[in-house]
Symmetry: C2
Subunit: 158 residues, 2 copies
């Protein structure tokens, strides 16, 4: 059985897995968020094999999250699409810090430069101000839903 081509999925989350659903991709983005721009620095900070790093950077460039400058020692810079992943990275970090951190606590703490306040992803809240869980939410077909998904989820979204 061949590998599923996630880029051809209709669901945007599935499509995003074509670029992000690879163990190193989010760690390369993490380094970019923390200010890394050069191949050698990505390699040193991540302890990643050069061929794997090359492939990950190429994929992130191809999918428009990073752009590469000119020349052999060019810098990799976040695009708007890449920068816009930062809130999702924060939300993932929040979960990871809660459930996967070493006993001493989080490895990295993020602070707003101008205020020194700790930065974490805000939880989604309901109208009543309580955190929303999956059971509080109903999934409805959106404008891009396929007929099969509409049939499965029932009533169209307003």
């Amino acid at each position: 059985m061949g590998r599923t081509d996630f880029a051809r999925h209709r669901c945007p989350v599935a499509r995003s897995m074509a670029v992000l659903g690879e163990r190193w991709a989010i760690l390369v983005l993490r380094e970019a968020f923390y200010g890394t721009t050069r191949f050698d620095d990505f390699q040193r900070h991540l302890g990643i094999a050069p061929n794997i790093l090359s492939a990950r950077l190429r994929s992130l460039v191809a999918h428009g999250l990073l752009e590469r400058g000119e020349g052999p020692r060019a810098e990799y810079r976040l695009t708007e699409k890449g920068r816009d992943f930062f809130p999702a990275y924060l939300a993932l970090k929040r979960w990871a810090d809660r459930w996967m951190a070493p006993p001493e606590g989080p490895v990295v703490v993020l602070r707003e430069r101008v205020t020194g306040e700790e930065v974490t992803a805000p939880p989604p809240l309901g109208r009543d101000g309580r955190p929303l869980g999956p059971e509080d939410v109903r999934a409805l077909p959106g404008p891009g839903a396929s007929p099969a998904l509409r049939a499965r989820l029932g009533g169209a979204d307003a």
Copy 2:
């Protein structure tokens, strides 16, 4: 070169990639968030090969995001650790809907059951109320940082 064992990384985000950094894992969680509990339903909704689905469910159970009931047709239920990933899923969906959706728009819209309000991940905001980007944030070593990371990031966090 062998595959890196992400579960042995110190960074919690890297460790979370041991379970989530696989293309299907987040889509299996997505289905669980939307109410799917049975193997056959996961398989039908995801169009996934049974052996891959088995491996993904087993991994999510082993890492404590799902728990499996008793018996051959047991249900898979989200644990607290699994439910707590919902905000990160919402943040990923927000990014994916913005950058990876088909031209018609998002495939699925989430609405709060009791109010019908659309549910999306709230963006992280700075003290001044503006959305925070990666350049607004400084990474500092947390209580679980290794000596190498402390040396790299400089001054310890308060």
